[in-house]
């Protein structure tokens, strides 16, 4: 930290740096709203983002000398809208569509003051932007990148770092996503009726993907990347405010809050993963658990107890409510997995259910279920299948088989930290065999 006097000596340069930092922070706060409002105006995310960036450049040029305006968000919007009008006028002779929009902009600007124009309905604009960035016409990867960029205000570099992907790939993904939206003539809208359900599912999927990438990093050195979790939770909380009557939104928020409550406890002193039942529950974040339980209750009150996210949140809540691992209500967890399996049957759900059955009714019962999953083609390369099987075999005293399963699981995971954990468990099995 630099002292105040050093700062003073650095004079104008320091002032400019401070202003830049303030502008960066303001950008983070305002960019999504700004892009959303502009996207409604011009119809596409690409142009909206360019106009917003132009306004940012203008701020970077002017604010260091003029000072940050009292209502920076309104200033940015007014500047961007001004440019939008120019742009639309230039295009007017070419495209009739833009002509109509141009008239809308002029009417908008002439009629009422800019502040009101921004405060009004910005919620709907933001929701429209979320639906557009998460449109099912885009691939999952594209949706994730575009969402983090336009709604999270993250730079391409930050997204690339989060997903351990080269910067150029993310940049290309975003460019391509915008082009796809334009080519598919995706409108800026808040969908209603039956379409809304499908579109909302796509939005929730994107947020949960971002969360999970942070929560259990599929690749790389780190076991967790909390920044991605935080971003996903922030998006979830914003969405819950924008669409407060959608039970599954609250279900997803509940799931993320409760899972995030364990973030600190699931990483050991040297960065190694600590599994749920081995975690020190005193390190769980009670505040997040409380928020998660409230969100879950809201989902249930709205009639969404059996939604896929609410059900998973209910399972997470069973763990959160148990003061010790031994007090976990496993039969209830089995029942909840039954409901999940009925709703969206999948081999991964069956595997999780098998774990719960093993805890509720003994390892032999769990192993029967896991063994039935072994031939499943979609689980062939899934490291958690041998990991779970190894765990159950170990409890049954079949250390040799257990060790082989842990070794297989270790060879299948892409995450360095998780591989180390699985190798350690394999070694423990070998040691047990020696001792026994």
């Amino acid at each position: 930290m630099r002292s105040r006097s050093t700062r003073a000596r650095e004079g104008a340069f320091a002032v400019a740096t401070d202003a830049h930092r303030a502008i960066e922070a303001i950008w983070r706060i305002e960019s999504a709203r700004l892009i959303a409002g502009l996207a409604r105006l011009v119809g596409d995310i690409g142009t909206a983002e360019e106009l917003a960036q132009d306004a940012l450049v203008a701020a970077l040029e002017q604010w260091p000398t003029s000072g940050v305006p009292e209502r920076p968000g309104a200033w940015l919007m007014a500047t961007a809208k001004h440019r939008a009008t120019d742009l639309i006028r230039r295009r007017r002779t070419l495209e009739r569509k833009y002509e109509e929009l141009g008239r809308d902009v002029e009417r908008d600007q002439g009629g009422k003051d800019v502040d009101t124009a921004i405060d009004e309905d910005f919620g709907d604009d933001l929701l429209g932007l979320i639906f557009m960035a998460c449109h099912p016409v885009l691939s999952k990867d594209a949706r994730v990148a575009l969402t983090l960029r336009v709604l999270g205000g993250l730079t391409t570099e930050e997204i690339a770092r989060g997903f351990l992907v080269p910067v150029a790939s993310i940049a290309q993904r975003i460019v391509r996503a915008k082009r796809t939206l334009t080519e598919a003539h995706i409108r800026f809208e808040v969908p209603g009726g039956p379409e809304r359900v499908a579109r909302l599912t796509s939005v929730l999927e994107v947020i949960y993907l971002i969360f999970n990438e942070g929560y259990a990093a599929t690749a790389g050195e780190d076991w967790v990347r909390p920044a991605l979790c935080e971003e996903a939770i922030r998006l979830g909380r914003i969405l819950a405010e924008l669409a407060p009557t959608e039970p599954e939104v609250h279900g997803l928020v509940a799931l993320m809050e409760i899972h995030a409550s364990r973030l600190r406890a699931r990483v050991g002193p040297s960065g190694e993963p600590v599994l749920l039942l081995d975690q020190d529950r005193a390190r769980w974040d009670r505040l997040l658990i409380g928020r998660g339980l409230v969100a879950l209750e809201r989902a249930e009150t709205l009639g969404g107890a059996l939604g896929p996210y609410a059900l998973q949140a209910a399972i997470a809540a069973c763990h959160a409510r148990a003061a010790t691992a031994a007090e976990t209500d496993w039969p209830r967890i089995v029942a909840l997995y039954d409901a999940v399996a009925e709703l969206a049957p999948s081999p991964v759900v069956e595997l999780n259910r098998a774990v719960a059955v093993g805890m509720a009714f003994g390892p032999a019962a769990g192993l029967d279920l896991v063994d039935a999953l072994v031939p499943e083609p979609s689980l062939k390369a899934y490291h958690l299948l041998p990991a779970v099987r190894g765990d159950l075999l170990r409890k049954l005293g079949r250390s040799d088989e257990a060790r082989a399963e842990f070794e297989r699981a270790a060879s299948l995971t892409q995450n360095v930290r998780e591989r180390e954990l699985l190798q350690r468990r394999a070694a423990e099995c070998a040691a047990e065999r020696m001792a026994g």
Binding site: R21, A22, E24, A25, I26, R28, I29, P72, G123, E230, I233, R234, L235, G236, R237, I238, E241, L242, R264, R283, L287, R291
Partner: protein, 115 residues
Amino acid sequence: MRVLVLAKEGEQSKAATPPTPEAMAEYQKFNGELVKAGVVVAAGRLSPSSQGRRVQFDGKKRTVIDGPFAETKELVAGYWLWQVRSMDEAIEWLKRAPYDGGTFEIREVSQHEGA
């Protein structure tokens, strides 16, 4: 990152003057914006320090002191817990608060646990 925003009260513990309905509405509007932006994790207003207690530690000895705490220059009147991406972002949010007096303090909640 999580930050704790502390509202400091200048004078100790006189019965708090109830805010005007206009000020209340302004505050609620601002707080609503924070909630919509996914910033607020928790918030609370504290009762006057005349109703507070202090426990002083000295070796094995514990001394309980009743409020008000006359010697204290700055007392906490209320708090927010915010989830933000940087200290700068917290500052920019706080600057928008509809207050025309007083001091607010922003402190990062440490990622490390323990006392």
